[in-house]
Amino acid sequence: MAAGHELHLLTGSYALDALPDNERAEFEKHLARCPSCAEEVRGLRETAARLALATAIAPPPELRARVLAAAPHIRQLPPAGRGPLSANGLRRLPLSRAGLSAGILVLAAALVFLLVTNFSTTQRLHQSQASNQAVAAVLAAPDARVASVPAAGGGTVTAVVSLRQREAVVTSAALPALPASEVYQLWVMTPAGAARSAGLLAVSLSGTAQPAVAGGVVPGDRLGITVEPSGGSPQPTTTPVVAMPVSA
């Protein structure tokens, strides 16, 4: 993974849709953590739109009749409210072989998370919307697969894995609440026994984790969740409540 500074240089390429798919997913994860990047991308997108407007040419006249006639037969999406997955990254759904119902479970979990969580500032909202694009990219991957396992201590953890993108989206339902001094931490654990942190899970009072993206996932790895002291740990310090194998 490139350093943050170097990733920041990608705002321009991102705004022009000039990132290769794998880098786009990585950059979208970075965007989720970098409000200044998100703001810059927003401005550069406006600039790109100006470039687009300058290309206007009259479309074939018959297109108008065709489009206007077709629209009434197309069901419109309902408003997403403040749902995190309203981000336009979702356009590439539906999930293919992944199993739509499990995908919807993840989406629903994300929505529930937002509904029960008070996002007090627009900045946090922007962050969640950006991270949703990363989530949506995994969910929309043609090779996405879904698995759910019970967690030791209660609750369920669901992961959507795209081996092509080497990424997994992890969420949960009904994970037991932790005291303020503890957090759930997500890991990518290799067969050799090494563990790499994929960040802390933001878990709501009802035990629903905001979907988190783990990168660099390859067959043979396991996705693990441990209980760690507040702030997280460099390496797992407790037995995982979940260790889901990632298979090809």
């Binding site: 290309t55 040419i57 629209a71």
Partner: protein, 197 residues
């Protein structure tokens, strides 16, 4: 090219953010299923959507197909447009550009397109052939002209030709690490130039 993207009496996109033709307000009405509003949205954006898609894809038949998808996507997802997060133009053109680029990068299209484009890359300069009297076009042309040649070329190849930045780097014979900076600097200078004018 003398065709006008908008019919007389209808303001062109980019000039109509106020009044009854306000694109953001129109999209809100479209989200409620308002067909009359959708017709106006169509008339405002069909030209830019088709122009941009055509610019990227080249092939007229494919462009028409993708433009149709984009315009119907605007109808379908109008409720997801959030004026807080950007302008209506930006929202629509982002959908259009993404769709066009997706099409370009899907393998079959890529092959066909490569054959059409060989030999040599597009210069990106043919945007000039579309330049008419519209203020937007003059401004874009002038601001592109204010960039360094490499900045201008890399922005045009990325956006108008739909190339990824590694492809742009290869076409221009510039190191990968450098091209990211050129594209970003170029776009930032464009932004600043267009804000001022």
């Amino acid at each position: 090219m003398n065709t006008s993207a908008t019919t007389p009496g209808q303001p062109g996109p980019g000039h109509s953010e106020g009044g009854g033709q306000d694109p953001a307000g129109l999209l809100a009405r479209v989200a409620r299923g308002d067909h009359a509003a959708y017709e106006v949205v169509y008339d405002q954006f069909a030209g830019p959507v088709y122009g941009l898609v055509r610019k990227v894809l080249r092939d007229p038949a494919q462009s028409e197909e993708v433009a149709q998808e984009v315009l119907l996507e605007v109808w379908r997802t109008a409720s997801r447009f959030d004026p807080v997060r950007g302008s209506a133009s930006s929202w629509v053109m982002t959908i259009a550009h993404r769709r066009a680029v997706d099409r370009v990068r899907s393998e079959s299209a890529a092959t066909a397109r490569e054959q059409r484009l060989t030999p040599g890359p597009v210069s990106g300069d043919d945007v000039a052939e579309l330049v008419e009297t519209a203020l937007d076009r003059q401004r874009v042309r002038r601001c592109l002209g204010a960039l360094t040649p490499v900045q201008a070329e890399s922005v045009k190849l990325a956006y108008y030709a739909g190339y990824s930045y590694p492809q742009v780097a290869k076409l221009l014979g510039i190191p990968l690490g450098t091209i990211k900076t050129r594209i970003r600097d170029g776009l930032i200078r464009l932004r600043d130039c267009m804000e001022v004018s």
